[in-house]
Amino acid sequence: MYRYDEFDHTLVRERVDQFRDQVARRVAGDLSEDEFRPLRLANGLYLQLHAYMLRVAIPYGTLSGRQMRKLADIARRYDRGYGHFTTRQNIQFNWPSLTDVPDILAELATVEMHAIQTSGNVIRNTTADPYAGVAQDELEDPRIYAELIRRWSTFHPEFSFLPRKFKIAVTGAADDRAATTFHDIGLRLHRNAAGERGFEVLVGGGQGRTPVIAKTVRGFLPKRDLLSYLEAILRVYNLLGRRDNIYKARIKILVDSTGVETFAGLVEREFDEIRDGALVLPPEEIERIRACFAPPAYDLLPGDDAEFLTARRADRAFDYWCQTNVRPHRQPGYAIADISLKPPGGIPGDATAGQMDLLADLAERFSFDELRITYKQNVVLPHVRQADLQEIWRDLDAAGLATANADLATDIIACPGLDYCNLANARSIPVAQKIGTRLTESGRLNDIGRLRLNISGCINACGHHHAADIGILGVDRKGEEFYQITLGGSPETDAAIGEVIGPSFSYADIDGAVERILDTYLSLRRDGEAFGDTWRRIGSRPFKEALYGAA
């Protein structure tokens, strides 16, 4: 795992002092709320419906047991005993008091954590494939480059007042598990015809009220040029992105209005000016960072563990969890375990302090002291021996963390919604709870299979509803909560934006509507056909008829 060097330590320490001073000046009245807002936002501190919310960065979603234990400690001491994992692989605390925040940041600094650039119109926490370094289909660990981007983007003096927020994701695998096409910049490591490794650079993806799939501006970018090219993109955006309308300020709108060829031309022209400048990445530096992400000292195992296979045959519940939540690992005899934070009736992404402590223990005992957070708001133990899985599963089960639903219909991404957020039009959490409970009780989850169902409480789309097989969007209709349904979206390699299926449903009717969509899918799908494939084959009509009756 990456460990801070003296530069990182110094920066984070100085940042705590700087923010402590800013809070003191705000409390003393020397800073107006208008002046303080961008300062606190650049440090992940929002003012929500009921309280401040602090968002803590988990760079590329990787953290150690010690770090997870510190998050639990903060949840206990400064919050109400829980935290909420987010779609940017971060964690949010919902109830800190303003004057405690500098102390919380000082606590975080002791375990090499911070809240820098987790909000505001800056380059946000760079995300990566949660299976980085362990997936079988991976060409190279994307965290090496996410870490280089973290450094380059941290307190970048030129890009700290961008037109709008800016999100970057990196993947090094064939399957896109980082939703790169839904980011302002998506980077995909691949090999060119000459066999060299470099990046496909996608720009202008995003969700929000105008969902867009990112477009390729560069098919192949050599690694040495990564930071220079990013700087060129950001400079073009900083200079030309709209600042007159917050809803048209993201880079996707700029790319759309100039056209992708013209935009790519502007970037290339800027890149030509700086390509041999100070940002060139020397191969030695890449190798130095690579060493920070070197694989742990795995035991050399012959292959699948015989006792593990026997245990699966003997215990149906354990076997079912393995089917849904355990993924193949590149190292023989090892596995990747997805830990679902989506129990039926629970709040998606929430974990209690006790659960966080357990996750820290399990990481230390069984996973080379490493955890991952996924944008699907779950946790991953990335390096566990198959032989240890049953013990892990029992411990998880005792803590309410053994829900066997990873990537199934109840593995719901949901934003905090109107229960917390002052932008929301409708509640998301109770809808997720209701649907989760209903689908679990229907006993059909396994039959439905892999299916993404996401919920956002407003058009800002923090719950990724556009990028789901079934997306649910909360809207306000004359003061009442209604829910619009989109179908056919996908965040993966076959990226697609969901299509609105028709008029919205009331809070009381939304779970029934979801059930009718699933009935339709189950009755019309061909053998083993995924929801997206059925949707593309049969189109919207059967679903419309099921929801609204024949036209």
Partner: protein, 176 residues
Amino acid sequence: MALLKNDDIVADGWTRAGDDEAIGDGILPIVSLSRWQRDREELIGRNTGIGIVLKSDEPPELIADDIGRFGVICLDFPKFTDGRGYSHARLLRSRYGFTGEIRAVGNVLRDQALFMRRCGIDGFEIADDSPVESWRRAFRELSVRYQPAEDREPPDIAEPRMRPYLKETAIGSRLH
């Protein structure tokens, strides 16, 4: 307004001249881009120093051919959230080789001062009652540099603490 340069309030030798305002003898004027474009020959003919103020939507390439004629280039920040001036400052230093004063004017706040300085801005138009000590602190709040920019460090910071691999290539100049 007061002018902060380096760590101190200094006398401002320059005078803002309105677009239709007569410029008296011995005045070092700062003019708008539109006046510069309209009165260019006349202003050059005065044979005094000239300053210009660029709005945030007026990129430096508009004065690229005349860069060497200006003693000061003011970058206007209409709102502190309008970040175009940061890119403009960097381009003035790195692409157009401007070595005179780059002055931030408009909504210039001490919590943005470090970023501005790192982009090559070395003059700050600040409120008369603004506590200078607080600005001095602002320039020193973060001593670590994760990326090369147009850094000019305060004299008491011996070495910019730059990532080692960047240190060798970055163009860091000393502030005097």
